[in-house]
């Protein structure tokens, strides 16, 4: 099946067109955040303080790249394990985030949040850091520079490949895919 081309940030219409198992190529602007940045963002939310970035419609990519060599936009940049962000993810969706990209299993609370807020959980191929780095054209720190590789970065991506794992309808590729090929 040909991958669907989508642009970032996302609209509800596009979210609702996508189903678990769909391959997509993302172009546009996405943001990075890992454990430490999530912790800081959610602390601000709890205190009712403004966030350093507007999450409305945004993709958040869970990544901690290798340092860029001179002349590179970014180093090796594959996804990290998403489960570590589970505790923070429902609140991120409440604040307008539309999709997150990582790898691996999510909690039921995250899957519920996808249905409630019309969101998507996608996986990029874990360990394909060299290939994925070539689809990232520009990378700038926009918040928490003190966190180094864990700072929030703004990425300009072109045809960034990902697969929808959990959609807004409660479908789950991890559960369905394995069932189909089990013997």
């Amino acid at each position: 099946m040909e991958p669907k081309r989508i642009s970032a940030p996302l609209t509800d219409e596009v979210v609702l067109e996508l189903k678990a198992g769909d391959n997509v190529l993302i172009s546009g602007v996405i943001y990075t955040a890992r454990d430490a940045a999530h912790k800081k963002l959610v602390e601000l939310m709890d205190q009712g303080e403004p966030l350093p970035i507007d999450l409305t419609g945004q993709f958040i990519y869970y990544v901690g790249p290798t340092p860029a060599k001179p002349g590179q936009a970014i180093g090796s940049a594959g996804p990290t394990t998403s489960g570590r962000m589970d505790a923070y993810t429902p609140q991120m969706f409440e604040k307008g985030m539309k999709a997150c990209i990582g790898k691996g299993l999510r909690s039921q609370a995250v899957k519920d949040a996808l249905q409630k807020h019309k969101g998507l959980y996608l996986a990029a191929v874990g360990g394909a850091g060299a290939l994925l780095s070539k689809r990232i054209k520009k990378c700038d720190v926009v918040a928490y520079p003190e966190l180094g590789a864990e700072a929030i970065h703004r990425l300009e991506v072109e045809d960034f490949p990902a697969t929808v794992i959990n959609d807004a309808y409660g479908n789950d590729l991890y559960a369905e895919g394995a069932k189909q090929y089990a013997r």
């Binding site: 099946m1 198992g21 391959n23 990544v63 901690g64 790249p65 290798t66 340092p67 860029a68 060599k69 590179q72 180093g75 090796s76 940049a77 594959g78 990290t80 394990t81 489960g83 790898k103 691996g104 299993l105 996986a123 191929v125 874990g126 360990g127 394909a128 850091g129 060299a130 290939l131 780095s133 070539k134 180094g148 590789a149 490949p161 697969t163 590729l173 991890y174 369905e176 895919g177 394995a178 069932k179 189909q180 090929y181 089990a182 013997r183």
Partner: protein, 281 residues
């Protein structure tokens, strides 16, 4: 007596850190290519193609295969007729890691205090080092950068001797099933059987240093490796957990004699970025 300078060890280690992270071994690469021929799922095939392309991009453009350039793990076999000059072995290895990870633009993923401060050491040290004194005048250094995502999916279980073969199979297969997509499948599964609680964990780690596709020299364990591999692939989890026939590329079992009351077992998982390198000096 043969002498080796600590600085020579550091130079080799620095090179090995960079090479292992950029060039995937032929053994793993061949296993990936072979799995593309047998994979039935179209999405699974797509993933395998991306992984093969990734290895080529990494090599051609000198980009690390994966951004998690790992905890630096070493198994050193030191010939007892070799004298190390100008420093200690541990410090020589740490110096090599420091240089390799800094000069090679590799990610520094180690924090000093594991519980409270968790402050990055800034140079990916310390390494985890196992040293064995062996007869002869050669030194063998084996290195693997071990990713956190797959390392987190590991386990030790003190089975009962009466659990038998079925107990080992259940433990390994159920454990790998629960890990599912998290350790970036296709995976390589290291299994330890025997020894003590601590010994069995090291056996599973050592199993991951074997060439992918190699068999346990003991026929019975070689058969068990294949049996467990088939069961794991029959789970249908497939590449990246998207569904398919290639959940694991290999199962490697390492064993050690056991106490009459025990049968320790362990699983240590590696991802397809199963990076390992060996040098003999």
């Amino acid at each position: 007596m043969r002498e080796i300078a600590a600085s020579v060890i550091s130079d080799h280690v620095a090179e090995m850190c960079q090479d292992a992270n950029i060039y995937l071994g032929e053994d793993v690469f061949d296993a990936l290519k072979k799995s593309l021929e047998t994979e039935e799922s179209p999405t699974g095939k797509e993933v395998l193609k991306q992984l093969i392309e990734n290895v080529e991009i990494a090599k051609n453009e000198q980009i690390p295969i994966c951004q998690d350039t790992g905890f630096a793990v070493f198994f050193v076999e030191w010939g007892q007729e070799v004298h190390l000059t100008g420093g200690s072995l541990e410090e020589a290895i740490h110096e090599g890691v420091r240089r390799g990870y800094t000069e090679g633009y590799l990610r520094k993923s180690i924090v000093d205090d594991p519980l409270y401060k968790r402050k990055n050491t800034g140079d990916n040290t310390p390494a985890v080092i196992y040293t064995e004194l062996v007869p002869g005048d050669k030194v063998k250094i084996a290195f693997a950068p071990k990713g956190g995502g797959s390392e987190n999916m590991s386990s030790v279980k003190m089975l009962k001797p009466s659990d038998g073969e079925a107990g080992v199979i259940d433990f390994v297969v159920n454990h790998v099933k629960a890990a599912g997509p998290n350790p970036c499948p296709p995976i390589v599964v290291g299994v330890g059987i025997g020894g003590t609680f601590d010994k069995v964990a090291v056996l599973a780690k050592k199993a991951l240093f074997r060439k992918v596709g190699s068999k346990n020299p003991d026929e019975a364990f070689a058969v068990l490796e294949q049996k467990i591999l088939d069961k794991i692939n029959d789970l249908g989890v497939g590449p990246q957990g998207f569904g398919g026939r290639t959940f694991a590329l290999a199962v490697h079992i390492e064993t050690f004699p056991s106490h009459i009351a025990s049968m320790a077992a362990s699983v240590n998982i590696n991802c397809h970025a199963c990076r390992h390198l060996e040098r003999e000096l």
